[in-house]
Amino acid sequence: MKKILSILLILVLVLGMMAGCSTDQPAEEPAEEPAEEPAEGSDEEPAEEPAEKDYEVTVGLAGDTLALDPYVYNETISNAVLQHMYEALILTDNELNNVPGLAEDWELSDDLMTWTFYLREGVEFHNGNEFNADDVIYSFDRAQEPFSKWTNVFGTVESYEKLDDYTVVVHSSSPDVIFLSKLRDLVILDKETFEGKGEDFVALNTNGTGRYKLEEHVKEDRIVFVRNENYWGEKPQVTKVTYKPITNDATRTANIMTGDVDMVVDVPVRDVEILKTNDDLNIIQQPSLRNIYLNFAGWTDNPSPDAEEPMITPDGSNPFRVLPVRQAMYHAINVQEISDKIMNGFSTPAASYSPENYVGYNPDIEIPEHDPELAKQLLDDAGYPVQDSGELEGYRFQVTLDSSNDRYINDAQIAQAIAGYLERVGIKVNLNLMSRNVFFTYIRGTNPMGDITHFLMSGWSDSSGEGVTLASDLLYSHNQDGPVKEGFGGVNRGYYKNEEVDALIDEALATREVEKRDELIQEVWKIASEEVAYIPIHFQQDVFATNSKIDYNPRPNKYIYAWDIEVLE
């Protein structure tokens, strides 16, 4: 008897623990929405007007948005999810063109130094607060706090001010015609709701002007939005959307097969064939904006001075400095084979950093032919013959290739293939694979360990639609110990240097006409390609799967919005 009693007691203890922990789960936002929805009322009198139907959609994402504060993250999933509730001054259409958002109109002064934004009147935040210039000024201020990931939006901004309740002026320190494309992911928060509150408050509470209101967010389980019936613009068809973070690839595939979700993102390449055999499912794919490429420290005599595994050459010179060596390496790599064999065809071989539909895309640049014999010839002629003695016996020189192994699709396999191609022409490659939490510090020239990388594989994408943004991050001259021009060349990890390219980028940034800008940047890609400033490998593909209930029209930047989903009758 006593034993049964004590077992009961233990049970009560355990249950008590559960109870103690479980009280504060839901109720993030008391929410005032359901009453406003006409759902039940309209059912009673069917009348002439077609009754408002409920369209509910569930989408499986590859990850969760970790905080509801739009400024503490700047990455695809968080941006897209939070833009259901929050909006920026500038929005984009399906082709990434700028369209009016909370700013109804804007103009750029003749000296290209002053932007004036005319704000939309009569817009309400979800709680009924009115939107005006104070909210914009507050948001701009908050986006520059130390926790914000959006400080680089204000790189060329000197100051901004409110002219009247619906006009905001931004003064630049240098001409920046693409300021708009930087602004369009920077969403506007309600000043009255958030002013003076800490990051932990903003991470849990929302109040935006967007098409959807937050109904529920259970971390790592689901985030649910309902349509904002007071939205200022055209209301989307989907009335309720649930996003489920399902990080395991195979589980995500299982969910679309069982019908538990209507759509999944990032379908693993190996599952596409299985899904295609199911008539109820559709596969949607598009080339992504993410370019995978190789960078080499070819514009310095002293590559990776602090490395444990430095470059080894017979005479101590830096072979990457020599153009024919860079050309030879490009000829040695079979980009098409990487796409066919490693990516199962789910990648688009790239000839430059620029996606096709970007301003400045140069269609004339071609991927050099895969030709190992030519590569060997070029290396011989460049003065790097195969050594027949010493530590380099059988090789021309030795380099270390740094790459992540959990950041990009099949990144480790691609790096291994590249090492193989280079070994075949006599370049010994020491493969250094690492996790992304180490990788991005490791490859930064100014990291605490010193400059330790001279050859690396990485990826880059931006969704500006402007080649000049890509070029100013990736190609603008940058020294080993810091930028030549503050805020430029931040990911120029080969320390590529070319004053002509810098001048073209500067000029493009001060060129208002799109056609002119296009010409200037085409020239940039051409010069960089002739000099083999980097070796582009491919653009990844975005692969989505939907069931027959819905139709989905993806965006080039892979932002998933409920208003791009159409529920079929």
Partner: protein, 321 residues
């Protein structure tokens, strides 16, 4: 008894201190949270600002001092990823894991004892051989494979159960749990069974071995000759003597389940603590990692305390002093 509790409490404080030092220092080595937080094209000023914001610009010993001081006032730091107090994030996730472990422990407890006693008492029967084959399979099949097979068979092929996620949550007596709704229970079955497999197999084998040993003892023969029924001999006399090691292992396993259900939770997209831990490690979220392992240490000390008390209930000869 009181002396025992006080001693355990002091032990716990020691354990926590040691764990905090080890974890704090080692989690500084697993990666740089700043590089994951700033944009890749960030300027040096932006990086420095982020480092200062996180307090990572100070020497590690100073950081540890600040951490200890904060912990004494109940503040375990703000998560780098969630921008919420670390302890709050962990406690939010606790119910999901606890309910899964609770169901898994019941499955393990009931089936392992019944099957273990049976196969120990009648080792020659066909049934016992089937049980042994099953237990070898249970021990050797990795849970990520088992989980995927479960999803494939019961989710996709048969369509009986949902493939992943936590179901609807009900409330009874102020407790929120998905155990209280049909939808919730449906979602719970596959992960709980997957989680049980290894432990079930281990404990079956442990019980069986103990039973086989005990059943040959003289006291069993004596009880039988005295006229005690076979069932009573097995379940009252022999089982009791078998249970001590079983309870020890079971206790440790439960602790392990609560703390490190990482793989099962990842496969079934279960919003529990194990997934939180692995995500935090991937992104070097030190406040969560440190607080989490502190919570786990407290829990293990507590579970071992419970196990000690259960010893006394099973075998009154054991003295806690």
């Amino acid at each position: 008894m009181l002396k025992f509790v006080v001693r355990r409490f002091l032990q716990m404080i020691m354990v926590l201190l040691i764990v905090s030092v080890i974890v704090f220092i080692f989690s500084s080595l697993i990666g740089d949270p700043v590089s994951l937080m700033v944009p890749e094209n960030a300027t040096q000023q932006e990086i420095d600002a982020a480092r200062e914001y996180l307090g990572l610009d100070k020497p590690i010993l100073v950081q540890y001092g600040i951490f200890l001081k904060d912990v004494l006032s109940g503040n375990f730091g703000l998560s780098y990823r969630y921008y919420q107090p670390a302890m709050k994030v962990i406690i939010e996730r606790l119910p999901a894991t606890l309910e899964m472990v609770f169901v898994s422990a019941i499955i393990t407890g009931i089936f392992s004892i019944i099957l273990g006693v049976y196969s120990g008492a009648y080792p020659k029967r066909k049934g016992s051989k089937v049980i042994m084959v099953f237990s070898i399979a249970g021990i050797s099949l990795p849970s990520f494979w088992l989980g995927m097979m479960m999803i494939y068979i019961f989710g996709i092929k048969l369509g009986w159960l949902p493939p992943s996620g936590r179901g609807e949550i009900g409330t009874i007596l102020g407790i929120n749990s998905s155990l209280f709704t049909l939808d919730g229970i449906k979602h719970l079955i596959l992960p709980a069974v997957t989680l049980s497999m290894v432990n079930l197999a281990t404990i079956i084998r442990l019980t069986r071995a103990g039973m086989q040993e005990n059943i040959r003892q003289d006291y069993v023969k004596y009880a039988r000759s005295k006229g005690v029924s076979r069932r009573d001999v097995l379940y009252r006399h022999a089982l009791k003597n078998t249970l001590i090691p079983v309870v020890t292992i079971f206790g440790l396993q439960i602790g392990g389940l609560i703390a490190f259900t990482t793989i099962t939770e990842t496969i079934f997209a279960w919003p529990g603590m194990g997934k939180l831990l692995i995500d935090s490690i991937y992104s070097a979220d030190k406040p969560i990692i440190v607080s989490y392992l502190m919570v786990v240490s407290i829990m293990f000390v507590f579970i071992n305390f419970l196990v000690d008390i259960i010893y006394v209930m099973i075998d009154p000869r054991i003295d806690l002093k």
